[in-house]
Amino acid sequence: MGPFDNWLEDLAEIGPLYPLVGSEGFWVAVVAFFWIWWHMAQIRIESQQDREQIEAIGELGDLYESLSKDS
């Protein structure tokens, strides 16, 4: 699996240390896909949470009453 089997050879010949050298484009595509998906998921999660929060906040009239009590 590894690109080399001997640390004692000329290090410049070893070059990259990570496994699966040559497959970098594939990893970039996967990560880019995940990254874009993450932004879309964030928007979806946020919208859902906003709806739940607005429900929890309730009527603004009640909020006004509670603010009046606090002050």
Binding site: E24, A32, Q42, A56, I57
Partner: protein, 458 residues
Amino acid sequence: MGIQYEGVVVLLREIYYRDLVILMLLTPIGLLFFKLGMTSKKHRIATLTQNLMLMPVSIISFFLFGWFFYKGFEFGPGITGGWGESGAALPWSEFMATNLNATPDPDNLINTSIPWHIFLLFSIIVVSIAAGSWIERIRGSALCILSVILGSVFWVIAAAWGWSESGWLVELVGYHDPFAGGVIHCLVGGFALGVLLPLGPRLGKQREILDVRKTIHNPWMLTLGMLMIYAGFLSFYFAAQIPLIKTYDSGNVIITTNIYGAPTTMYGTTFNYFLSLAGGMMMGFILSRGNLFWILGGGLAGLVSTSAGNDLYHPLQAFLISVFVVWLVFRAHHWIERRFRIDDITGVVAIHGFGGFFGLIISGFILWGYPSSPNLEFADINPAGQAFGAMLTFWLFGFFPGYLGSQVLEFFDVLRIPEDLEIGGQDTLSIKKQKEDIAEFAGIEKAVLKEIIEERNN
């Protein structure tokens, strides 16, 4: 130079920059505290989580394309050259990982992999600064998308043009901005303004509640945050200077250059850092009659104002420029807030945008005729070049991308949180859950206590 000598130089520089990355983290952390100090209690947890997410988003986008923009756009491309060494900065390049073939050049920092980490931190700082002006009403997802546009695209291209050794702006117009007063601060101010216009002020601002604008909700967080920003700013100054040992034909030996490869000294720039800070804080105190926000903000604006010339100024010149620019910044801030109903919570447009803009203009006159680079073919520093750079960074790289980006988000209705949420608070559920957890915990405590008492009585 022998291989061992070169190795020592590279090693020392690696240690220098690795340590600075850690110290520079003080800036985004400080900005987080600063923003929380200015955020009302009902939005504080949301502000915290939204702003924390800027960091991972900046990291991944900067790896995927941000670094490529810096390396590829230095010469335009197509203005003074091609794509430079950008091939090695593409995310699928084998040099974007541990590679024993990557041989750092001791005479040129930019050829090594070291600056990736430094520029990433700059990107995180840039987006963290901008985010402060929009808190309490922008959606977290919009914040992340705008951060990618700013931190991994436009800021980086501006830096490639005007904040690199061979940037075409330096070569052709003599642009000089060693501590990024333009390519970071002026640009961030423009971007913040571009987003603020479609985003609008917090609810109530249009009802003339002008004095509430600079309400400090937590003075301790504000102060702690700003002091951390000052510390991070100093490490940023150090990161913008390249330690190396260079012998000139004349026999002179220098050990520090600015980002353009021109000689400077770290002790000189540190003098200027502190004098700029002092001038800004003192002027901020006078103008605001001792308001905490403006004492600390004045110090920051003072630092920004001299960043375009602090490698060359005398410390007292830096002090006086800082005093003058902070006066301008303070006046301009209040003018745009009232005139255009700009609700800039952390004062980004004025402190960074105007501070950087005026600082660049002034440096063009004071440093007129100085060489912008050790390269003799490059243009000298001049007022027109600095003014051009100021306009370019504020409007082209700052305002327009921010304005267009936020207009698109507005079109898809994902820019601003709903009105009820803004009034009720984004932390409603978090606070409710916290109260429930505490009540449940108190119930358990009570039950345990009852058990212990019963056991002892038996």
